[in-house]
């Protein structure tokens, strides 16, 4: 991996996420019979936020400022661990999959702490839900990665998903499919999509991620939204690299296939969001536990 490649990778991790959001929103609009906002609307929104001023709550401290900053920093670093179009990610070492999971943990710690920093009961509730559901999503994430670890005999994300995936599907199709399904559930839960949370609702009581940002404004809100979108992109990239065998051709072809697959995943998420209702909050833990059990089943198939 050349430094130039790493910079390109990082630039993509910062610049691509709003497009993924745009694709999801456009899909949902089309499914609802509307024309929908321009695909690039999330970019315009972020640009507007970054040029606005902010108002801070009198209650808040440095923790409130740290929330969005840590979210963007951790998601950016996590993106360096996942191969996009290339065969090996810019940063890769034995055990980096633990770093990958724990980086999002760090981002979450400060996002929730920032929500508690406002003293708002609504934001506190959102923070409690985020902490609860992500604690339950963690085993599911690790279990689905374990399936790959057993098949690939490697401890780094690049080793797990960097090479051609068709061999993986040929040798352990069922467990890998179960792991993919479980990862997809984790992806929806961690990124507060329907059926776990509705990113478009404005009723404070029903929200998880959006409610934690009620008091953020201007560039801080922009950073928080960018961090969330980056997280969606990075986790989508991981799922895409497992689920979709990229063509073993020249580099540009692989990158094009990767981008197409990411945007297709955006369409799938949009379809899920259009066809499902949000779960009642009490049912969310059950779905997360079910996701863990799916990959546990996949693992048992491998190690029996």
């Amino acid at each position: 991996m050349t430094p130039l490649g790493a910079i390109a990778h990082l630039a993509l991790a910062v610049l691509l996420p709003p497009l993924l959001l745009g694709v999801i929103q456009r899909t949902k609009a089309r499914m609802a019979g509307r024309r929908g906002a321009p695909l690039l609307q999330p970019y315009y929104d972020l640009a507007k936020l970054f040029s606005k001023g902010i108002v801070l709550s009198r209650t808040t401290t440095w923790v409130f400022l740290a929330g969005p900053v840590v979210a963007v920093a951790t998601a950016s670093l996590a993106s360096l661990l996942v191969p996009f179009g290339e065969k090996a990610a810019p940063v890769s070492f034995a055990g980096d999959l633990v770093l990958f999971a724990y980086l999002f943990g760090l981002g979450r710690f400060f996002t929730v702490a920032a929500a508690l920093d406002t003293g708002s009961s609504f934001e506190g509730m959102g923070g409690a839900r985020e902490a609860t559901f992500s604690a339950l999503a963690e085993p599911a994430l690790f279990l689905s990665l374990l399936v790959l670890v057993i098949v690939r005999q490697s401890f780094s994300l690049s080793g797990l998903v960097g090479e051609d995936q068709s061999a993986l599907w040929a040798t352990a199709g069922v467990p890998v499919a179960l792991a993919c399904l479980s990862l997809f559930v984790v992806l929806l839960a961690e990124n507060s999509r329907i059926p776990f949370d509705d990113p478009t609702t404005h009723l404070e009581l029903t929200m998880i991620h959006e409610v934690m940002l009620l008091d953020h404004s201007g560039p801080l809100l922009g950073l928080a939204l960018l961090g969330a979108a980056q997280k969606l992109l990075v986790q989508s990239a991981l799922l895409v690299r497992i689920a979709v065998p990229l063509p073993d051709g020249p580099e540009p072809l692989r990158w094009a296939a990767f981008l197409a697959a990411i945007l297709a995943l955006g369409v799938v998420i949009g379809l899920v969001e259009s066809t499902m209702a949000r779960l009642r909050l009490r049912q969310v833990p059950m779905l997360l536990i079910a996701a863990s059990l799916l990959s546990a089943f996949g693992m048992v198939l491998l190690v029996r």
Binding site: F109, A113, G119, S120, G124
Partner: protein
């Protein structure tokens, strides 16, 4: 060279033992005796650190014979890599704790208790030190008893409070039980090997070795506080003065881990099932510990349950090392032992930091209940920052030290998963999942604790009147926080001590196996930490450039509600409510809630509690029944000294008549 290191260790122990004595004759209303005790313990820490540095630099193992013979055998103490590895945190935390006590527990403010506590605190440190350098069962038990009694007097420093006395007595009962188990183990060891030496490899057959190990494991797990043998731990940690809690949780419970490691290196290799059992015990302890922590409202009790969790994580590493050794998988053994040892250091650092932070909060507000605190980051910014560092570290999050040891444990488990077959493989997979769950739950619990105590608005007048703590309380916390960052960013600094400790745990592993630095990705962890710090700086720079300072301030947006009050904020129990509800089959929470009905309801209260499953639901009821049943034997207890001397005489005579007299 070798003698120097052992002598330094003995000097550290002696300095700690006498650190509280001068204060007995000095005026209690002056700070001088507190400072003197802190200086003596500081000097002891310097001695211990020099000894540990010498050992890490390659000083050979040293043994000192004491002028004391038992059954014809010299009682000895010694210093090797394993002892030195534990010696460093013992005296480091003890000296920081005594410095902290200058501000938190001065004799002027506690005229009744402080002098006695000072003596007990120093003796506690020296007892723990003696245990880790003992090379003979009698020296070991002497240190063990010194530690146990000094610990009892440290816990019960404020014995005018009833719940403190209760916690002390529960501790005393448990430590008696652990001593009994250990005595049994040593007697069994002696009857098989005809030696009380704790050096080298004991010459006994594997079956006896297993029995000795099993007995010792009970004693050591009781001391370490592994679930379900943790019954003394939450009460003692919560009731002791904060610097004592830090020493208990940071250092003393690790003696249990030390004992297990020492026994494992002394006895013939164990079966794979034993290592697997310890791994499973650790996983249970970790998950149950963090689950019970979630529902605790007193801050120090919450931290105490996290000690059970972290002991569980350490035991997982120990179990993995033993499993790897019996399977002949050197990488697994090395990763397991390295993660366990490094987590011993890491937990000593961040848990002492957190107990100091909790003590600072209690000192400033007089309030240890989470739900009566809040908003302290405004009034105690330094404490808030330092507690925050400890909270992130204990969750195992990068770029701090907890992440390093947990990553090593994950790697060891992944190696087992990939390279072994059958039961170990399944167990390793389950352990990875348990560890991931523990990570998620710990993050939820600590974001709760940090947020409810330091963020938002104060929930009580006491919290609103809080003040920042003195420098002698903040300085030890700052040292610990810096060390948490240092090990997280540059774990290589711990490598020499780790390698020396691994050498004395299993010489064969160090001689023939892969090197620690080949197996543990220290350089990659450093790279990751550096990249993370760089990314944080870059994101902060972007935010700083785009935001116009000073930003206007206004009230928190409360969704249109006109009269929000601080009591409407999320509380500790509401934050954890969903998770406690999901885990209620394990936790059995108790809730007293009045029904709220009708348009103009009466005032109502909600009370949620999480009683300890073992102490409150099993041990105390059983003990009460036993006490009732044994009232008929009460005539044995005369309260006269001569009666007890008679009992001892009868016991000795019976023992002499029933044994074959081959002990001498």
């Amino acid at each position: 060279m070798a003698i120097v290191s052992a002598a330094l260790a003995v000097a550290a122990i002696a300095l700690a033992a006498v650190s509280g004595l001068p204060g007995l004759w000095l005026a209690r209303e002056r700070p001088a005796p507190d400072r003197l005790a802190a200086s003596l313990l500081g000097l002891g820490a310097i001695c211990a650190a020099s000894a540990a540095l010498l050992v890490a630099a390659g000083a050979p193992d040293a043994t000192l014979a004491l002028p004391w013979r038992v059954l014809g055998e010299r009682v000895t103490v010694g210093l090797d890599g394993l002892s030195a590895f534990f010696l460093l945190p013992i005296f480091g935390i003890a000296s920081l704790g005594s410095l902290y006590a200058v501000g938190d527990f001065p004799a002027a403010a506690h005229p009744r208790n402080a002098r006695r506590l000072r003596v007990a605190f120093g003796l506690l440190a020296s007892g723990v030190g003696l245990v880790v350098i003992a090379r003979h069962a009698f020296a070991f038990l002497a240190g063990w008893e010194l530690m146990a009694l000094a610990c009892f007097f440290s816990i019960t420093a404020e014995d005018e409070r009833e719940e403190v006395r209760r916690a002390g007595f529960v501790y005393l009962a448990c430590t008696r039980a652990s001593t009994l188990a250990l005595t049994g183990a040593f007697v069994l060891l002696h009857s098989a090997s005809h030696s009380f030496a704790l050096d080298g490899l004991a010459q006994i057959d594997p079956a006896t070795g297993r029995a000795v190990f099993g007995l010792a494991l009970v004693g050591f797990a009781l001391k370490a506080g592994a679930m379900p043998l943790h019954l003394w731990l939450p009460g003692a940690h919560a009731m002791a003065p904060s610097h004592v809690s830090a020493l208990l949780s940071g250092v003393m419970i690790k003696v249990g881990i030390y004992g297990i490691l020492r026994m494992a290196s002394l006895l013939p290799p164990l079966a794979a099932g034993d290592g697997a059992g310890i791994l499973a015990l650790g996983a249970v302890s970790a998950v149950a510990g963090v689950a019970f922590a979630l529902g605790q409202h007193p801050l120090k009790r919450l931290l105490a349950y996290h000690s059970i969790e972290n002991i569980g994580i350490i035991l997982m590493g120990v179990g993995l090392a033993l499993l790897g050794r019996s399977l002949g998988n050197r990488e697994v053994e090395l990763l397991g032992i390295a993660s366990a040892l490094l987590h011993v250091w890491n937990h000593a650092l961040f848990k002492a930091l957190l107990f100091f932070g909790a003590g600072s909060v209690i000192h400033a507000t007089g309030e240890g209940e989470l739900d009566r605190l809040g908003g302290l980051a405004h009034r105690m910014p330094a404490t808030a920052l330092l507690f925050g560092v400890g909270a992130v570290a204990i969750c195992g999050l990068p770029p701090l030290n907890g992440f390093v040891s947990e990553l090593l444990l994950y790697l060891g488990l992944l190696h087992t998963l990939v390279e072994q077959g059958g039961a170990p493989r399944m167990l390793a997979g389950a352990a990875v999942v348990a560890l991931a769950l523990v990570g998620g739950l710990a993050a939820a619990c600590f974001v709760k604790a940090f947020g409810v105590v330091f963020l938002g608005e104060p929930r009580s007048a006491a919290a609103a009147r809080a003040h920042e703590s003195s420098r002698s309380m903040l300085a030890p916390m700052a040292v610990l926080a810096l060390l948490c960052v240092a090990i997280g960013v540059a774990p290589q600094i711990a490598a020499p001590s780790l390698e020396a400790a691994v050498r004395s745990f299993d010489p064969g592993l160090a001689a023939a196996g892969p090197g620690l630095r080949e197996v543990a990705p220290f350089d990659s962890i450093s790279l990751g930490a550096a990249l993370l710090l760089g990314a944080l700086a870059a994101a902060a720079a972007v935010a700083a450039r785009r935001v116009r300072w000073p930003a206007p301030r206004d009230a928190t947006w409360s969704c249109g509600y006109a009269e929000p009050s601080p009591r409407m904020q999320v509380t500790a129990s509401s934050f954890a409510d969903t998770l406690v509800g999901i885990l209620r089959w394990l936790l059995w929470p108790e809730v007293d809630a009045a029904r709220v009905a009708g348009p103009f309801p009466e005032p109502a209260r909600l009370d949620t509690r999480l009683p300890d499953p073992v102490l409150d639901r099993v041990a105390l009821p059983v003990a009460r029944r036993l006490a009732e049943a044994s009232t008929r034997l009460r005539w044995v207890q005369q309260g006269h000294l001569h009666a007890y001397v008679l009992y001892i005489l009868i016991a000795v005579v019976v023992a002499l008549l029933t044994t074959r007299g081959d002990l001498g």
